[in-house]
Symmetry: C2
Subunit: 535 residues, 2 copies
């Protein structure tokens, strides 16, 4: 029952997205292409606003984050080092009878193409054993299509950040702790794309890799590593923060970001992965989940990835990824021997664990881990990383699902009517204000309306609409999620005889999307008022 | 001699790009990947600013353009319809002796891999006849790698706009003439990427497809089609504009855009392609060229593409791409018979020319062209299009090359020193203002500087730097292209005894990048002053 209701909601959302130009099926005139979605005029604006706010919050408003914009196609060695070539795959089986290929873990859910009354697991087709199907899209770079020309479309934006870590560090005047931020497309050849834009094959990510000192370095410098008293925001970053507090900090910063664009904390869930759920490189991972109509699903993952990625690239490229930390070197010299030994031992063990898990043989791993521990004493280490990784498309879908509202509002004749409105936060709303002359065929109204449009437009995205009854124009803007409508009417030209501004000319009707209420506002006060509200 | 000087300049630019974090080689730690470039912290900001200004100018500041953000991978039929599958290729030859593959038109320039003293055209290797090598990157979508799963990375963003033309038209409340704008990545498997980022395999485009009425429709509505008196800006769009005037309009609008971001008209060249140079779909094309250090090369192409693309998609998808124009229908009814016949005949002939060139057989083409001409009389047509198509990466390279400046400026001791500065227009400069406390170890200076930083930061990208001598910090900002440095010094805290603000506290030094001059400015006046200058 509940599920049926939620399916209806999803259908309404998908229908509105197409009807109003938020989201179209890619290549729709050719029957579409499964797992690919285009953003129409309203969707493109919504997405730009979200990406711009993320970039501004995560990069421009901070001293400790630098930006990056790397290519989608990179050297294939990157995906070898990251583990994607070897392990980024789903198990697939082939049916020799129908020639179909299916995910081995979904044969109970997929109907047989030849006998749809049975599931693939029940049908009589002869199946192969499961084989790994890599989810990276593959192509060839250069004129010759051989093994050496294979390249991949990046399945995540993160690895480019790791590969360029040293270049950014050396050119941006940053010191650990600091982050590198990137927004961009990624591609995964999902076997079964689903839930509208939630799981698609081409998508966009907003990723921050925030590099921190290993806990042992923090402890050497500040005597002890602070531990979080509770979950929640641990305040401004402090020198004695280790992995745990930085992790808490970023979880909370990200939730504050979502609140700031109109997803209240009550719509989100914080899920701390259990140790057995963690990816092999992760010390801890927190998923921020959103209650989508089709279920509570991940919006963002915030992983403490240790020094795994940089270490992998160091080993695979032969290029050093470590940093020299003068503060650590100076602090280390002042430690007593017992402390030195304790920290060295802990660091040695962590490095040994990484190296053996990465396939380095025991003797060589022990030698390397020893060198790493000796390096720490000289102020050298490979930074650890906290990774807040958000999916743009699923965030857009969350914003759309959360904004979708139906209410009852009287129509022009006073009869109650169901109204669809998109309650976007003004910060992300595709159109901030619609400017509407009451009538199209009154030149004075049109002229005044155009002057209001031109005054607002340099400061915000404005939509000018002069066609149709004013009530219908309001409804169209409600569906587009426009928080403010500005109507130029005869009172604008002549002034009112009563009301809050009796006799005053140059006022407009300011109509609010959410409750349909209307104020009378002087044109001279309109821009500062709207700027305040969309900030 | 001139060439040598320009090579030196290019080398300096490439070196500065890497040294200051504008542009890095993609996957550099793995030896790079030919034809792929990453944007570092300064480059990413520069690129964002340019893309944002383009989007704002072309979309948000206009009533007649809607935005789109489509996928990179689309249905392969799109590239069949556009002609890319059949004709987007370079001729290649294989050498059976050395197994090399070379562009057939470059065999005189490429040394033989086995005998580098000879060119490929002169060596004794046995060569195949030239074969077409398609420049689209190919991949497979879905779990099965067969013919039906082939897809391409888009070689241009334009085709997505044509494919979604009807969806955008129906959802955006636009009427012809109107445009659809898109910014996004495109990919071409260039055989020989070259000239730094100018010709790379992964690049970004900013494209507008501006749809207009066919000239015959304009003439039916407004009696005659206006013709351009001269080149240059033909003023605000008028109802009697046909293809020619819209084309002139967009050429001029685009040049005005370049002027607005710091490329004076004198650095650009307008090149009107000769009839024999035009692509088969183009009625006219204007290239906007920039004088790069390696030669005068295309920055943007503005093509009048007729109704070719929409017509191709109509034929290939079977979905109608025409619009109904009530104004045309009404106007046509009032024409005299001679005029009707004349316009019908002209329209018929143009459609017939398109259809036969598209491979439709004569009899069928005549029938279809007749139907199209009959449609025109009822207010129906497939819109024509003007396409201003700009390359983001080559524009960034142009901005960098134009900004690169060396001058002589005295160092701290008054000795002349060669200074490198990037004279970016403040609108595109990655960092708008640097905030610098004179000394790092004076808490009052640092505290004041941080408060200035925090006051500016919500409004612009600000860089805070407290390390090193103030002169060296200025030089670093000069190289980053930061137009303004704000220094907090002892006068800020105590006031001056002389000068323009004698005795006044809370003033800062505002230092200008281009001439190194310094003003004394009250902190309270700083934000409005800077906002005015970066607008």
């Amino acid at each position: 029952m509940a599920e049926a209701k939620e399916n209806v909601l999803m259908e309404k959302i998908v229908s509105l997205c197409k009807r109003r130009g938020f989201i179209f099926q890619s290549s729709e005139i050719y029957g579409g292409i499964n797992g690919f979605w285009d953003y129409g005029p309203l969707g493109a604006e919504l997405k730009r606003n979200v990406k711009e706010l993320w970039w501004n919050t995560m990069t421009r408003q901070r001293d400790d984050v630098a930006g990056l914009e790397a290519t989608i196609i990179m050297a294939p060695q990157i995906w070898k080092a990251s583990g994607h070539v070897d392990t980024f795959s789903d198990p697939m089986i082939d049916c020799k009878t129908c020639k179909g290929r299916f995910r081995a873990d979904q044969t109970n859910e997929i109907p047989c193409p030849q006998k749809p009354s049975k599931m693939v697991s029940e049908c009589h087709g002869e199946k192969t054993a499961p084989r790994a199907f890599n989810l990276m899209f593959q192509t060839y770079v250069g004129p010759v299509q051989d093994e050496s020309a294979i390249a991949y479309l990046r399945p995540e934006t993160a690895q480019a950040i790791f590969a360029q870590f040293k270049n950014v560090l050396e050119t941006s005047r940053q010191k650990v702790p600091f982050g590198i931020a990137q927004v961009g497309k990624a591609f995964r050849n999902e076997v079964t794309p689903r839930n509208f834009t939630f799981r698609s094959r081409e998508f966009e990510q907003m990723e921050l890799e925030f590099f921190i000192k290993p806990d042992e370095a923090v402890e050497a410098i500040t005597s002890s590593v602070a531990t979080p008293a509770t979950k929640g925001h641990p305040c401004e970053p402090q020198p004695n923060w280790g992995r745990q507090l930085w992790h808490h900090y970023w979880v909370e910063e990200r939730i504050i970001f979502y609140e700031g664009i109109g997803l209240p904390r009550t719509t989100l869930e914080e899920y701390w992965q259990k140790p057995e759920e963690l990816a092999h490189y992760a010390r801890a991972t927190v998923d921020i989940l959103f209650k989508f109509p089709f279920g509570t699903q991940e919006l963002e993952g915030i992983a403490a990835r240790s020094d795994f990625d940089l270490s992998q690239h160091e080993r695979h490229s032969g290029k050093p990824m470590g940093v020299f930390d003068e503060e650590l070197r100076a602090a280390w010299a002042k430690l007593d021997d017992a402390k030195k030994q304790e920290l060295s031992k802990r660091y040695y063990e962590k490095r040994l664990k990484y190296l053996t898990s990465a396939g380095v043989e025991r003797v060589a791993a022990e030698k390397d881990a020893k060198e790493d521990a000796d390096g720490l004493a000289k102020g050298q280490y490979v930074p650890h990383v906290i990774e807040p990784s958000a999916g743009v498309d699923r965030l857009i879908l969350a914003l759309i699902a959360h904004a979708y509202t139906e209410d009852q509002m009287p129509d022009e004749k006073g009869n109650p009517e169901t109204r669809v409105l998109m309650k976007f936060h003004p910060r992300v709303a595709p159109i901030k204000a619609a400017v509407l002359p009451l009538l199209k065929n009154k030149p004075e109204l049109v002229k005044k309306a155009l002057s209001v449009r031109d005054a607002l437009r340099p400061h915000m995205n404005v939509f000018y609409d002069d066609a149709g009854a004013i009530g219908r124009r309001y409804r169209r803007q409600d569906e587009a999620g426009t928080p403010f409508c500005v109507t130029i009417d005869f009172e604008t030209l002549e002034g009112t005889k009563s009301g809050s501004n009796p006799g005053m000319k140059d006022t407009v009707t300011l109509r609010y999307r959410d409750d349909g209420k209307q104020d009378r506002v002087a044109i001279s006060e309109l821009l500062p008022l709207l700027l305040e509200k969309i900030r």
